[in-house]
């Protein structure tokens, strides 16, 4: 598997596409700025959301119990899964009881995290992703590159090609309106015929035992209201205490995510409809482990808006696939080491630590600080690549020794002035896509001493 830097290198080979990706996501970030500034209480809402989540995480056991009791009272069947494997088995056992061979699924990052599609496909179940972006990447045998905009790494020409191959649209047609209509017709058939629908969960309300699912396309509802069985999959951190708290989160979510005032549909599911079976699968999969870590606990406050993706200078220029995780971007980089430290050791380093992610986060997660905490944690565990730990040790030695520091500075200036080819070559990663700076004649220290 390529690490983040290697995968990014591939992504930026196409300079034009990289620029398009960068500018498009920045445009989404700008829309977020615009709508958030229309609300005088924006900062108060962020603070409120942050405090509600802090409170919920401190009392998670109590709220999960309350939610379970109320959901059961509502006639919902509640399941608990300690890990991805158990989650997938629970979902599969429900499907096989109903003899379903095809099911419709709306967006759920949890099912991506659990690799549910692979699991079910191997068991002979056809999973049809119904979010347009997810359907596109599913046809292409790819994974989403962004949690809100799954196909943002693709151009309309790519989608046109894919639809020509899988849906028989005319070759060369790349009109978004036309292609969306083709997907609408194609997926309606599945909606009308599916026995089982799977959705994610944006918020679960302890007080009422209901859960809220937000979409713009209406695909979650088309699936859930037509199928005989609705399975909603959620991580245990999606809990909020009261129904009135929803107002805070629904005001923040879409504004942060896409700069919309609210998603087109914010559906509140409390009870199954007459004759329907409704299931909720509550999944831990490492969340209680993260809850026990003081420095990383509040990464569980995340509401998956992806504002941190859109603002991140590294994400915008490296693409979501370079993070080799279902959740990419800054938030993904602090969630991933919890699943597997050694497989994700590169991700906390895929950041400039500029802090923009923390500034836009609607629930005030200190993302850039946690990236830095993970770096320390991974270095202490000896997981950093040899080159990085050696160079860190070297730097520590030079910086703690004034004589050697002075000498190194002198040598650096001399090399850059008289033998620039030593640094201006492809062996030096800092030289890629960059001009090296002109070397100053003297150091700051000597300038300071000699000043008149």
């Amino acid at each position: 598997m390529l690490n983040h830097a290697e995968a990014s290198e591939k992504f930026i080979e196409d300079a034009e596409r990289t620029t398009w990706h960068d500018e498009t996501l920045w445009f989404v970030r700008s829309k977020r700025d615009k709508v958030s500034k229309l609300l005088p209480e924006w900062e108060a809402l962020r603070e409120q959301a942050s405090q509600i989540k802090d409170h919920t995480l401190a009392n998670l056991g109590q709220y999960l119990e309350e939610f379970e009791a109320n959901a059961k009272k509502n006639g919902i069947i509640v399941h608990w899964a300690k890990d991805a494997q158990e989650h997938n088995e629970i979902v599969h056992s429900i499907i096989s009881k109903h003899g379903g061979k095809a099911l419709v699924k709306s967006k759920s990052m949890l099912t991506e995290e659990c690799h549910l599609n692979d699991f079910l496909t191997k068991k002979g179940v056809e999973v049809v992703d119904t979010d347009l972006g997810e359907r596109i990447v599913q046809f292409r045998n790819e994974v989403p590159s962004h949690i809100v905009l799954p196909a943002i790494h693709l151009k309309k020409e790519d989608v046109g090609e894919t639809f020509h191959e899988f849906l028989g649209t005319p070759k060369g047609n790349k009109d978004p309106q036309f292609l969306t209509e083709a997907a609408r017709q194609h997926l309606r058939g599945y909606f009308l015929g599916a026995n089982v629908a799977i959705t994610g969960v944006n918020f679960a309300v302890a007080e009422t035992g209901e859960f809220v699912v937000c979409t713009n396309e209406g695909n979650a509802d088309m699936g859930a209201h037509l199928a005989k069985v609705h399975i909603a999959c959620m991580g245990i951190e999606k809990m909020i205490p009261k129904r009135k708290d929803l107002g805070v989160f629904l005001r923040l979510l879409a504004r942060s995510a896409t700069g919309q005032l609210i998603t087109t549909y914010s559906s509140h599911f409390a009870k199954p409809r007459e004759g329907q079976e409704m299931h909720i699968v509550l999944v831990d999969n490492g969340r209680t482990r993260q809850l026990a870590r003081d420095e990383f606990r509040n990464s569980l406050k995340c509401i998956r808006c992806a504002a941190c993706f859109n603002t991140c200078p590294v994400y915008r220029r490296s693409g979501g696939h370079s993070y080799h995780q279902p959740v990419a971007g800054p938030i993904g980089s602090i969630l991933a080491p919890n699943f597997d430290k050694s497989a994700n050791v590169d991700l906390p380093f895929a950041s400039t630590l500029c802090g923009s992610c923390s500034n836009v986060c609607p629930v005030k997660i200190n993302i850039h600080e946690q990236l830095w905490f993970w770096r320390q944690d991974l270095m202490k565990d000896g997981l950093a690549p040899l080159g990085k730990s050696l160079s860190m040790k070297g730097m520590a030695f030079v910086f703690s020794n004034p004589t050697i520091f002075k000498m190194a500075g002198y040598m650096g200036r001399m090399v850059m002035r008289f033998a620039p080819f030593i640094v201006n070559n492809s062996l030096n990663p800092w030289f890629k896509q960059r001009e090296m700076p002109e070397a100053p004649k003297e150091s700051f220290q000597s300038w300071y001493k000699n000043r008149k």
Partner: protein
């Protein structure tokens, strides 16, 4: 040990932390003209807004907006969700309108079927001007204790921008939304 008790066991093993809930959010009263703001939000989210004095006027406007299409009301359509596939224009009642975002609260008590607002080709919602509030918070306050088995905020026609961020109206749900203010 069941997974349920394993999960609860892991949570209970953590040190107890006292963090209070901040209480209900008090929104800043920023708008006096909720109807005007609601109309403005509707145009942002791509809905058509019609002011109508009475049912007669509404019907006239609707036949201009949807000429040649058969319109159904909640009373006309049967409860089978799949049959609604054939419905071109469906007229339903909304409970509350929200000025800040053009959302309309729909409760399944007033829907012929839960899938109705999604599966029809075009959707018409009647909203009383007296039931328009400034923010989402007011809706939850007004609904307090009255929990629908299924309810939703609906804001505009269904849409997607998944192909190169180009906005396309009419993804899987209704292709257009007309809101009639009465």
């Amino acid at each position: 040990m069941s997974s349920r008790s394993e999960i609860f066991g892991a949570i209970q093993a953590l040190e107890k932390r006292e963090i209070a809930h901040p209480g209900d959010f008090k929104s800043y009263k920023a708008t006096q003209d909720v109807v005007g703001d609601f109309k403005n939000s509707l145009s942002i989210v791509g809905a058509i807004c019609v002011d109508a004095e009475n049912k007669q006027e509404a019907a006239t406007r609707l036949s201009e907006i949807y000429p040649d299409l058969q319109r159904y009301t909640s009373q006309d359509v049967v409860a089978n969700g799949l049959d609604l596939e054939a419905v071109d224009v469906l007229e339903i009642d909304g409970m509350f309108g929200v000025a800040e975002n053009g959302a309309i609260w729909l409760s399944d008590q007033f829907l012929p079927n839960r899938v109705a607002p999604f599966i029809c080709q075009h959707l018409v919602i009647y909203v009383a001007k007296s039931e328009i509030v400034a923010t989402l918070h007011e809706v939850y306050e007004r609904l307090d204790g009255n929990y629908a088995d299924f309810g939703l905020f609906l804001s505009g026609p269904s849409k997607t921008a998944d192909i190169e961020q180009s906005l396309v109206i009419g993804a899987h749900g209704a292709r257009s939304l007309t809101v009639i203010l009465v």
